[in-house]
Symmetry: C2
Subunit: 439 residues, 2 copies
């Protein structure tokens, strides 16, 4: 097996057993990247010599001093500060900008022994839906989704086992679905967002990519994401209780996701689970509008500095935030804050009645073209509600591109959700219809 195909958990096991050096592993990833970069273009910054230098340093760490992610390579979205690499936000304002500071997530990852590979592409400030140069891991003519385009594509294309993304609307889950990988948007503020460009303080969340749930659990350990009750390690689909929720965004659904939802229900039932169809309460039908109001209003605050600095280099979409072209009043802003806040405990209660609730991750498989990163319609409500979300791959669309579904649970039930996602993922990946061709 080529080393670049290893999951993070496998890398940890092999380096621990003395069967793998970080340098050999890094060289394998770098040659995979070299081979595939022309097609995928996932990287905003990558310095192979520096990667090898860091890998060699990790190999010199005494076995007893090694961290729980020793040698695990991480692709970092280029809206997250790394003290040894530029951070440019895909914005001409910050071209070649390189603040000497690590984001909170990077400090924690480095301390755990991770190898920071490089910076991955993003839409401008992780805020627009205009795609960067990056292609989908499974079809160069299709978008990888966004805004965490590069991290989603890199992990999907076996260029890194772990990727960091962010999500304010659907920026982690959408690329997860489009590239056929697992994605975790944890409970809001479960991981520090320090050192990550602000768009909306209330919505921005660090997101994680991997090709297995075990890898996401490894990361959750390192970031100390714990539920009040430890997750049931012997959770079984047989006898489990799920719900399917089409949500108020169902108008956006395409054929691919509609079929995946049906198939998911049938598969879980065939494995002995009960699957009930539920709706969100009618009075929450404006959640997407509230999300938009908050996004525009908080974006007004967040992009004022960049607007002042270099308005002409800022996307018109972000001008509109700062200039408040939608004419959102402070009363509307505060009302949206309060309405969403009131919804959170109500939705938690509903979600808590099931082992997990299954909702769409995307309208359909990744669309063709790199100009637009697709729709976040199915993600933004969960971002606003602060709930954990796991994208589980396994289905496919009309063009055999991957489609994932989202499992959601109440706030701070991330570990339970991961443990359920692990069993669900085994079924979806085995019987959902899509199979990863590049491994």
């Amino acid at each position: 097996m080529d080393l670049y195909k290893l999951t993070a958990s496998e890398v940890v096991a092999r380096t621990k057993a003395g069967e793998l050096t970080v340098e050999d592993y890094a060289r394998s990833l770098l040659s995979r990247i070299k081979e595939r970069d022309e097609a995928v273009k996932a990287w905003a910054y990558l310095n192979p010599d520096y990667v090898i230098e860091q890998a060699k340093k990790l190999d010199q760490v005494a076995p007893e001093a090694r961290g729980p992610l020793h040698g695990v390579a991480v692709a970092v979205k280029d809206v997250i500060y790394t003290k040894d690499m530029p951070t440019q936000f895909n914005s001409p304002i910050y071209e070649n900008d390189a603040p000497q500071v690590d984001a909170a997530s990077i400090i924690i990852l480095r301390h755990a022994g991770a190898l920071i590979l490089g910076k991955t592409t993003t839409t401008e400030f992780a805020a627009t839906t205009t795609g960067p140069k990056t292609s989908n891991a499974h079809d160069p003519k299709r978008t990888p989704g966004g805004s965490s385009s590069g991290s989603g594509a890199a992990v999907g294309d076996l260029q890194a086992p772990i990727g960091l993304g962010t999500q304010t609307g659907g920026s982690t889950i959408r690329p997860g679905s489009f590239n056929g990988i697992y994605a975790l948007k944890p409970t809001w503020n479960a991981i520090s967002r320090e050192g990550q460009k602000i768009y909306s303080l209330l919505f921005d969340t660090l997101g994680l990519y991997a090709r297995s749930v075990a890898d996401l659990e490894l990361l959750a350990d390192v970031f100390e994401i714990h539920d009040d009750e430890p997750a049931n390690s012997s959770f079984q689909i047989q006898g489990a209780s799920f719900a399917i929720c089409k949500t108020m965004a169902w108008d956006h659904v395409g054929d691919g996701t509609a079929k995946a939802m049906d198939k998911a229900k049938a598969l879980l039932e065939s494995h002995g689970a009960t699957v009930q169809e539920i709706s969100l309460p009618e009075h929450l039908k404006d959640l997407p509008a509230w999300h938009a109001t908050v996004l525009n209003s908080e974006g007004r605050t967040a992009f004022l500095p960049d607007y002042r600095k270099a308005k002409d280099k800022l996307a018109p979409f972000l001008h509109a935030h700062v200039e408040n072209t939608h004419g959102i009043s402070r009363a509307q802003q505060v009302g949206a804050w309060d309405n969403i806040a009131a919804a959170r405990p109500q939705v938690d209660k509903l979600l808590g009645q099931y082992d997990a609730v299954i909702v769409p991750s995307v309208p359909d498989e990744a669309p063709t073209g790199l100009e637009s990163t697709g729709s976040a319609a199915f993600n933004l409500i969960w971002t606003a509600l602060h709930t954990p979300v796991v994208n589980v791959p396994g289905f496919q669309g009309a063009n055999k591109m991957p489609i994932g579904l989202s499992l959601v649970g109440p706030r701070y039930h991330d570990r339970k959700l991961l443990s359920v996602s692990k069993e669900v993922g085994e079924i979806f990946e085995a019987e959902g219809g899509w199979t990863r061709k590049n491994i």
Copy 2:
């Protein structure tokens, strides 16, 4: 008049009229600082040569290209990134650390023509109540309050006309009261907190210090803090409607503030206003406990990187956050989030019935000793509620040290609150009993 005594508005007017060079002004401030630094010790970093260099550059800017804060000197709390100066958080972990990046607030201030003077002292990460080396502007044996100790003392001591602070509990308003100056904690997220150390995402707020309300209004313009309705520029105390609210924290009150509250009521009434005594609803009595729960829980996330990096160099108080020694469950954390969120619109509605509601800023005048920065008991509820708060000076305690009172209003009524504070401040400063001796 010595130039260092000028307010920001006066500096703007004089530089605009060609009557003042930024260099002359800066030299006056630097000599004031030189004279007073041994007593006050407000600065964590200050490089006089660099200040003069920056001042000279500002003098070279063509009149038509000058910003609305041209030449206004700003003291910056050392938890806010400045690309040309170290940012050290009063933490040995970050000693001599100097990330090459400006916080959002600094970008906006520089673009408006401000002169960034230097970095002011803070308690460790703006999180503990252990005082830095700094003394109160009006008595070297007394605390300036915290955590924005240096900015509060510097503005109180005429070493800078404007200071930046932050507030998560009472870190802006308390030093404002103790040092006899105006302080504005704006509505949460009205100013971007990007580039300012995170403690609690839901509570952290950038705070502003000045020696006049006009200066705070000047800053509010630059930061584009606007209400839905423009503030009534002809607001008068005669016929105005105020409330006095002792809050559930009244047990903490000392003689100085109790007398100031009575005197405030009498003064406003004597000028023709009605002043009603109100209470917060009984079901909000646990607001201080909810604030503490959120602080501990969000601190658990915020300080994990520093804890991992150098536990031995982190205050025990912050260890306790990360180790969750108070045993706060996720259910309690989420419950506190939701309870506070539900309280916000209720309290807004109550506050909106008056031109302003007057509440204590502090239990009493600044206590003696530099070890502890005092109590935030009267501030933390307003921080949690996201309302704007203005500290208005004018009263004094048993030892003739300044005592201010807080004016609060509903979220995003910052400009109305400032316009009311201006008129209230004229009365409190003229008739409250305390007079600034250093001007």
